[in-house]
């Protein structure tokens, strides 16, 4: 078994170096799907994060608590709910999104929304009203002062975005249930790994896993560098 693993590892590296089409296809699709999901989630999560992080309103704690509670939502659970929504007889069935990349993108965007909202709200809250007051007393308008706060919170918001992307690219449940793992259409890194492993194609599974790990690790490394820059 040990020699099999080493053999698998050797052939996996060969596959990556030689540019195996299955490896490249799954990698690019994963980057595309999860990257788009991250950008999509950012569109609504950042404004929500800014509001929670900088404004006081009734129900703020409840809202924050809800997003915190949803941080660990199981991907299969969310996958099931969205599957029922997207399926032919579901309320969103008329859009025919099931088993298309769009479905995975939307699913992952929803999955990572709590991470992005919570993390960015915390980052903005940490900057505090002090920076806003400071900007104002230096002559900034309300909008300019908010920009100053956002600029101060940028490292924290970047962390939120990267953590979200990592969660999206590494999840399996949603990609499998909403995408269906169709080769050349919805097959991404995680679904390929699951499939190839059950098929006994260990070397391909290992190659894909190495790539997935490389993506996640290099992003985490970048995050750490960013953090060190800050302190």
């Amino acid at each position: 078994m040990v020699s099999e693993i080493f053999e698998g590892l050797r052939r996996a590296i060969e596959m990556i170096i030689s540019g195996n089409p299955a490896v490249i296809d799954a990698t690019l699709r994963s980057l595309y799907v999860s990257g788009t999901a991250t950008l999509l989630a950012l569109v609504w999560s950042l404004p929500i994060g800014i509001i929670i992080g900088s404004k006081n309103f009734r129900g703020k704690r409840l809202l924050k608590g809800t997003f915190n509670a949803l941080l660990g939502i199981p991907t299969v659970g969310l996958g099931l709910i969205l599957y029922l929504m997207f399926s032919k007889s579901g309320p969103l069935g008329m859009f025919h999104m099931l088993y298309k990349p769009t479905a995975i993108i939307i699913g992952q965007a929803i999955l990572i929304t709590p991470i992005m909202v919570s993390f960015s709200a915390n980052a903005i809250e940490a900057v505090g009203t002090e920076v806003k007051d400071l900007a104002k007393t230096l002559g900034a308008s309300e909008a300019e002062a908010s920009m100053a706060v956002l600029r101060e919170a940028l490292p924290g918001v970047t962390l939120a975005v990267i953590a979200s992307f990592n969660r999206a690219i590494a999840e399996l449940g949603i990609a499998l249930m909403l995408g269906g793992n169709i080769a050349g259409l919805t097959r991404v890194l995680t679904t390929s790994i699951a499939l190839e492993t059950t098929r006994g194609n260990f070397e391909l599974g290992i190659a894909l896993t190495i790539i997935l790990l490389l993506i996640v690790f290099s992003l985490n490394f970048a995050v750490n560098m960013l953090k060190r820059e800050q302190t």
Partner: protein, 352 residues
């Protein structure tokens, strides 16, 4: 002199708490006004209202004869505030100081020379490219001051600008404040509970207690009637009211109550108000043999840590505050309950 800003019946409530209660105050152009009061008296709230970053619950604000009701932009553009807790943007010193200029759309080359000038004023030449957050507390506060002054504000509002700073930084900041007021004609309002600073730099003072101004006037007026005003300073650091008896040798013994007597280098008799700078009070574990006339024995009842310096409250009959360096504090292994001796010179006792 014309009035720059007038406050009429300003009240500020935060929920149930009334921070300011019907404050009336007129600030003339080129004034250098100190707002004195203990923590929680409403000093910061008052400055924030004057800076246009806090709206009063009730009352009128008149800026150069014009009532300001909703649009505080005009105040924000012309007045600047420096906060007690130094806030710097997480970027270079240059970008910090240039912030207000950029917002005002000043051309780049002009910004460069204005920033250089401002940094020179606070003795931070050559710091342009340093990260502001990596500077010491004193340096950060000087960046904050440069960042405010570079805008040539009509009025500079300072909230305890030298609290917890080392003496060297304090004197640089005091010099700059004086320079701005005298040479640039900047109106200055400074909130402080440092009596020494008030006497040293301010022209006028207003005393605030529980959100009300209870006394205002020129420094001479305020400090010459200590019996009336200064008794209200109970709770201020190292300000005591006592009875002076001249010794006939160029000093006076001042009875502060609770059996506490201190010697001051002034021949005075009768009721006086005295003040000792916390920095001038030396702390030791054994009595010091020195030329200093005052050696008191007491016990530490409170330790407040503020970075490079530590403030100790020592019960020696009256509570006396001493400010020492963090290094001394650690080396002497001081803590609440430690028995210590306080030593200060008769000439360190300021008598009003």
């Amino acid at each position: 002199m014309k009035a720059l800003l007038s406050l009429y019946g300003i009240t500020k409530k935060y929920g149930e708490i009334t921070a300011l209660n019907g404050v009336n105050l007129e600030i003339l152009e080129k004034d250098l006004l100190a707002i004195i009061g203990p923590n929680g008296a409403g000093k910061t709230t008052m400055l924030k209202i004057m800076a246009g970053i806090e709206t009063p619950t009730k009352g009128k604000i008149i800026y150069k004869g014009r009532q300001i009701t909703h649009n505080f932009d005009v105040i924000r553009r012309n007045f600047t505030m420096v906060f007690q807790k130094t806030v710097v943007f997480n970027t270079t010193v240059f970008n910090n100081v240039a912030y207000g200029l950029k917002i005002r759309g000043i051309p780049k080359n002009e910004i460069k020379s204005l920033v250089d000038e401002a940094l020179e004023l606070v003795k931070l030449e050559g710091y342009e490219n340093r990260q502001a957050k990596k500077l010491s507390g004193g340096e950060q506060q000087r960046v904050a001051l440069a960042r405010a002054l570079v805008l040539r504000p009509e009025m500079l509002l300072l909230d305890e600008p030298t609290a917890n700073l080392d003496p060297k930084t304090t004197s640089i900041i005091e010099e700059v404040i004086n320079y701005a007021n005298r040479e640039l004609g900047t109106t200055v309002v400074i909130a402080t509970h440092n009596m020494f600073q008030v006497q040293k730099i301010a022209k006028k003072a207003a005393l605030i207690l529980n959100g009300r101004i209870i006394e205002k006037g020129t420094i001479e007026e305020i400090f010459l009637k200590p019996s009336l005003v200064m008794t209200n300073f109970a709770g201020f650091e190292n300000v005591f009211v006592g009875n002076a008896k001249p010794t006939g040798k160029g000093t006076a013994l001042i009875e502060l109550g609770n059996g506490l007597e201190i010697e001051a280098a002034i021949e005075k008799s009768g009721k006086v108000t005295v003040y000792v700078r916390p920095e001038d009070v030396i702390v030791s574990k054994i009595p010091l043999e020195s030329s200093a006339r005052n050696v008191l024995k007491g016990r530490i009842i409170e330790v407040s840590d503020s970075g490079q310096v530590v403030r100790l409250k020592v019960d020696a009959g009256k509570v006396i505050t001493s400010q020492i360096t963090r290094r001394s504090f650690e080396e002497m292994k001081l803590n609440v309950g430690t028995e210590v001796f306080l030593t200060f010179k008769a000439s360190s006792v300021h008598v009003a």
